[in-house]
């Protein structure tokens, strides 16, 4: 059994065809036409992705690695468009197309009243195409193409409601912060070409061991280890795309986009591209303890400190957004301790339960007529039971209750960090443990505020129409609804249910092979000395035993503690939340201001950049070059000419005098020379 090129091409191109049809012929084919063609494209793509996964897992198909066409060829350098499909890729393809398919279906309900319906379907299909190009790439050029293309779609989707000033601020911010990451990423690719002489994965990985001992001359007497340089530069790209500290600032703002894309792009798939990339580059990262330590410390910092911000958020989507930042930190920590398969495993489970949480939050937002502030929610469980139950499932997976998918992936990461001896692993272990507590705090708080307790909204039935415009949801006072909240239509709840199933179960069935059974095979390379998961494998006696053991572990204890605290506060003593806030006012301010990182960036880079530009423009171009040199020299010519003109007085005696003077000087000169 071998993978066929035509099937892989179909997987990648089917969403693109849907995108083009819905985008360019949106008016002609109408709303139904637009969602039909794009969903059909995704169905084809998703079905074939499952088939490829089946072929490669059960059918024993070897990894596929072929170029489709040559992008450029210059001397010994070339870049192609081609596919590398091994187990890592196949798993990513299934995750991407599956979540994307469900999001497409969900969008029918969520965007039902939006004028940009066709445009939205076109964008999310374009996103799916770009993401597939990214994960299926067999070389760095195409990787960068997919990398930037998903960034473009993210830009377009965050700014989807382009009339909102906040949305078009957020999308510009997202694009530029990502570009800072891409700046490092591009240099990383250049470094790969410089040291390893190729852009093709296979060639690069084969040559990677040759990096050992090579250095990059930075200054006269300073050189950096080649593998560390490549690793850190490529990871800077991942920091942008996967929103790692300190390039994380764009992700919370990206919530300005419609909720379906928050689920698809800013939780399940695009933001995990950086994680996927580092896992894919494991043969390079394995050569540098320094780069891995860097990755680990960055990830650990994000895992804890962005989670803390989630505790003070009131916007239901922002809680989930900060949770995503924190979970991306967990994945990054796993990469940093060489537990690549652990990172990718968490990537997969997280894709399911976080997409579920986002889509659930979206369902709540529909019910609340586009009110996102949890202070005006409460008690929603009786209005929307399916959303309530499925979101609890997602939450349990997020806080890692044993037997859920999230438990297996997160606990494995915490264990792996604990087992690691790499520089910084102590700090990282503290962060991921404390992070487990924090995760539980904000998650339970969110669930209680939304679904439990007293209703903090009132239904005012005076409008008598179901108008809820996305661009203008301010014509009610906060907390006033025109209709009672109700459960969302089936196109919304069905994806929730279909995501709840893997959120609960997929971990139980896949942890064995994926983490400890070498399922990824050649796709992920770990040096023997770094193999923390290999060490843990000895203690692994099946998924059920691991879950049972999980009840007696530190993380579970912390989660239980958080459960007790939040239950007491939000169910039994709601006034206490305010008291705690007042008692810890300075701390609360620090979190509410997001450590002032956004403010500093805006002041330094945005305002500072504009100031610098003005200075360059006014002082450099206008004053020095144009003022002094160009127009200045023209001015000098003019002044000289004006002076010369005065000599041309037109009086005969002036000229006669000048002639005589000239004669005298000339004769005098001859006389002097003659002497």
């Amino acid at each position: 059994m071998t993978l066929s090129t035509s099937i892989l091409l179909t997987i990648a191109l089917a969403p693109l065809v849907g995108c083009l049809l819905a985008g360019f012929l949106g008016k002609q084919i109408g709303r139904v036409g637009a969602h039909s063609v794009t969903i059909l494209g995704l169905l084809v793509s998703c079905g074939l992705s499952f088939y490829v996964l089946y072929q490669i897992t059960a059918g024993g198909a070897p990894a596929y690695n072929h170029n489709l066409y040559t992008w450029f060829e210059i001397g010994r350098f070339s870049a192609s468009v081609g596919f590398l499909v091994d187990r890592l890729t196949a798993m990513m393809m299934v995750v991407v197309t599956f979540v994307s398919l469900l999001v497409h279906v969900y969008t029918i309900g969520y965007m039902a009243d939006d004028d940009g319906y066709q445009r939205f379907f076109s964008y999310i299909s374009l996103f799916t195409f770009s993401m597939l190009m990214l994960v299926m790439s067999n070389n760095f050029m195409q990787l960068f193409f997919g990398w930037e293309a998903v960034g473009l779609v993210s830009y377009l989707l965050i700014g989807f409601w382009y009339k909102r000033p906040t949305a078009i601020f957020a999308n510009l911010k997202a694009f530029l912060v990502n570009r800072v990451g891409d700046f490092g990423f591009l240099l990383g690719i250049a470094a790969v070409l410089y040291f390893l002489g190729s852009l093709d994965y296979q060639t690069v990985f084969a040559a990677a061991p040759g990096l050992v001992g090579k250095t990059l001359q930075i200054t006269q007497n300073h050189a950096w280890d080649a593998a560390t340089v490549i690793g850190v530069l490529l990871f800077i790209g991942a920091m942008g795309k996967s929103a790692q500290v300190p390039l994380h600032v764009w992700l919370p703002d990206s919530m300005e986009g419609p909720t379906p894309i928050s689920a698809l792009i800013h939780a399940a798939t695009m933001v995990t591209a950086g994680i996927f990339m580092v896992a894919r580059m494991s043969p390079i990262y394995e050569l540098s303890q320094g780069a891995l330590s860097f990755v680990m410390v960055i990830g650990a910092t994000g895992a804890l400190f962005t989670g803390l911000i989630g505790i003070v958020q009131n916007d239901i989507k922002r809680v989930v957004a900060y949770s995503t930042l924190s979970q991306l930190g967990y994945m990054t920590v796993a990469l940093g301790v060489s537990a690549y398969s652990g990172a990718v495993f968490h990537l997969m489970t997280h894709a399911f339960f976080k997409a579920l949480l986002f889509l659930g939050a979206g369902s709540v937002i529909i019910a609340m007529h586009h009110e996102q502030d949890m202070r005006y929610m409460g008690g929603l469980r009786k209005y929307m039971p399916i959303t309530w139950i499925t979101m609890w499932i997602g939450s349990l997976a997020l806080v890692a209750i044993p037997f859920t998918s999230g438990f297996y992936s997160k606990d494995a990461i915490i264990e792996a960090v604990g087992a690691s001896h790499r520089w910084g692993s102590g700090y990282a272990y503290f962060c991921v443990l404390a992070g487990a507590f924090v995760t539980a705090l904000y998650t339970f708080r969110q669930m209680y505020l939304t679904f439990h307790g007293k209703e903090r909204f009132t239904v005012v039935e005076h409008h008598g129409h179901g108008h809820h415009d996305h661009d203008d949801h301010g014509h009610h006072k906060p907390g006033e609804l025109a209709h009672a909240p109700h459960e969302s239509p089936w196109v919304v709840t069905l994806p929730l249910i279909l995501l709840a199933i893997p959120s609960l179960l997929v971990g139980f069935f896949t942890i064995g092979p994926m983490l400890f059974g070498g399922w990824f095979g050649q796709a992920i390379h770990v040096e023997e000395a770094n193999n923390v998961l290999g060490e843990l494998a000895g203690e692994f006696h099946g998924a059920a035993a691991m879950a049972l053991h999980g009840f007696w572990s530190w993380p579970f204890g912390l989660v239980a503690l958080a459960f007790v605290i939040t239950t007491y506060i939000y169910l039994f003593n709601p006034a206490m939340a305010g008291k705690i806030k007042t008692a810890f006012k300075p701390l609360w301010t620090v979190l509410d201001r997001k450590y002032w990182v956004d403010d500093v960036y805006f002041a330094v880079f945005a305002r500072g950049g504009v100031k610098l530009g003005r200075l360059f423009w006014k002082a450099g171009d206008a004053a020095v070059i144009d003022g002094a040199l160009v127009n200045g020299s023209a001015g000098v010519v003019q002044r000289i000419a004006a002076g010369m003109r005065k000599l041309q007085s037109g009086y005969l005696y002036h000229y006669a005098f000048a002639m005589i003077l000239g004669l005298i000087l000339l004769l005098g000169g001859f006389w002097l020379v003659g002497q």
Partner: protein, 502 residues
């Protein structure tokens, strides 16, 4: 076999301008259609270059040579290699689009405008074909005249200042080149570029000549600090003038470096490569910041042109560090090809950007960013193109803007990682100035009531934008055909660099 293809290409539009002029202001439509016919014919003829040309052969081809000024030994010598053909095709392609783009926009003396455009096109093709230095010089100077007229007559309120500045700036530069060429003639007894390339020169001679050429071509590219004519010229020029200026004319500077500086004075070029590289990086970073704060859209794109052309000069001059320093011919070719692709790509992208600004200007009669906002609400199709070209201007992969920059950054990392670091900064600053403009012009709610009256693009405008979009995407998705076309010529050039003249 017909072997006057290049002459035909040059003189078809120039001579074709005569009937366009004769159509007169009484029959503007006849003049327009005649001009379009000439432009299309020229484009079709230029396509015949491709089957005639053997891309595997690095020699100059389709040669024509006649004695022109016998007493000075000046030849009317024409020939092309892959680099020339790429630039000629760019010229004839853009030639059609500016005629169509100006169709009803130019109401004042359209026949003269169209005729000037055709003459300009022919002269620019001449520059790319000339193998005799004096013939090159004649074309190089002659093309200033139609451009001077285009800006001076159909330009904006400060057109006289702008056009004089443009003329004197470029003219001053080329005077130095003329002196250099006369020196070379006295030494070699010929203006034939091929012979001059083989002429042995001392380091001192080469240095003087290098700076003579540098001044001429640096003004044309333009490089910092002799770039200030460009924003003024663009702001005042009519849309078509801006498009030709950005898309083709600036390329002549880069082309000049390839044809003159590199082969004739390679050792001085190597010696002073650091200077050109430094100025190129200044163009990327410094000009990037200047572009960020522009309030006039045309000025912004003009500054962005300067920054993008920095990649051209960077790609050309790191070749010395790579060939002679690192001894890596392939890497040098990568950088050189990157510079070439960047030239072609910038032709499409800047042409398209200026066309977009022209489309908006025709409706609102202002280029000031603050007068716009929310254009997407009334012109969604236009918005699609504007975002596409803005992304190409930011170097997004999949568009042509990425290809050249990518290749130059890859190559410069080998020359020196710090060069690559500064060059790659364009990713951030380029996106910042372009997309900030997009944010303020395209997105948002409508604040200026006049914006609400803006009409969606018509079929003619759509044609021009679609043509540019097709070129931008084709080159971005599959650059190999273009690279293959130029490969032998670039190889030849790079090998020539390795040979010391002293």
């Amino acid at each position: 076999m017909f072997n006057h293809l290049l002459s035909l290409l040059i003189w078809l539009p120039v001579v074709g301008a005569v009937p366009v002029l004769l159509a007169g202001s009484a029959r503007p439509n006849l003049a327009r259609w005649l001009a379009l016919l000439m432009a299309v014919l020229t484009f079709v003829v230029s396509l015949f270059l491709l089957p005639q040309f053997n891309a595997a052969d690095s020699a100059m081809q389709l040669t024509e040579s006649h004695m022109w000024i016998a007493s000075l030994g000046v030849h009317y010598g024409l020939a092309v290699d892959g680099i020339s053909i790429a630039l000629i095709l760019l010229t004839t392609f853009v030639g059609i689009l500016v005629i169509v783009g100006a169709w009803e926009v130019i109401q004042d003396k359209p026949h003269q405008y169209m005729a000037a455009m055709l003459v300009l096109e022919g002269l620019m093709i001449g520059v790319f074909c000339a193998t005799d230095a004096l013939l090159f010089y004649v074309f190089f100077e002659a093309m200033l005249i139609p451009m001077f007229i285009l800006i001076g007559i159909w330009g904006g309120p400060r057109r006289v200042y702008a056009t004089l500045k443009f003329f004197i700036y470029t003219f001053l530069g080329s005077i130095f080149m003329l002196i250099g060429l006369i020196y070379l003639y006295l030494k070699a007894g010929t203006f034939d570029l091929h012979t001059l390339a083989a002429l042995p020169l001392t380091m001192q001679e080469q240095s003087w000549l290098f700076f003579a050429f540098l001044i001429a071509f640096a003004v044309k590219v333009p490089m910092v600090p002799v770039h200030t004519w460009l924003p003024d010229a663009h702001v005042e020029a009519p849309t078509g003038g801006s498009v030709v200026l950005a898309a083709v004319m600036l390329k002549i500077g880069g082309y000049g470096f390839l044809r003159f500086s590199l082969p004739i004075v390679p050792d001085a070029s190597e010696h002073f490569a650091w200077l050109v590289i430094a100025l190129s990086l200044v163009a990327v970073v410094y000009i990037g910041y200047v572009a960020l704060v522009q309030e006039d859209m045309k000025k912004l794109v003009a500054y962005s042109s300067v920054a993008h052309m920095g990649f051209v000069t960077l790609g050309i001059f790191i070749a010395f560090m790579l060939v002679r320093g690192a001894g890596d011919v392939d890497m040098a070719k990568l950088g050189m090809q990157g510079a070439m692709v960047q030239m072609i790509s910038h032709g499409f992208v800047s042409g398209a950007m200026f066309t977009c600004i022209g489309v908006m200007y025709d409706r609102l009669h202002t280029r000031s960013i603050k007068d716009y906002g929310g254009v997407i609400n009334v012109m969604p199709w236009f918005g699609f193109f504007y975002v596409l070209f803005a992304m190409a201007n930011s170097g997004l992969p999949g568009t042509s803007g990425f290809v050249g920059e990518f290749m130059v950054v890859l190559a410069s990392f080998k020359a020196n990682p710090w060069i690559a670091l500064f060059a790659a900064f364009t990713l951030i600053i380029g996106a910042a100035y372009t997309l900030w403009m997009v944010k303020r012009v395209l997105w948002g709610d409508i604040t200026n009531p006049h914006v609400r009256e803006m009409k969606e693009i018509n079929g003619r405008e759509a044609f021009v934008l679609i043509a540019f979009a097709a070129a931008v995407l084709a080159l971005g998705i599959w650059p190999q055909p273009l690279i293959h076309l130029m490969d032998a010529s670039v190889s030849q050039l790079v090998q020539q660099l390795a040979v010391h003249k002293i």
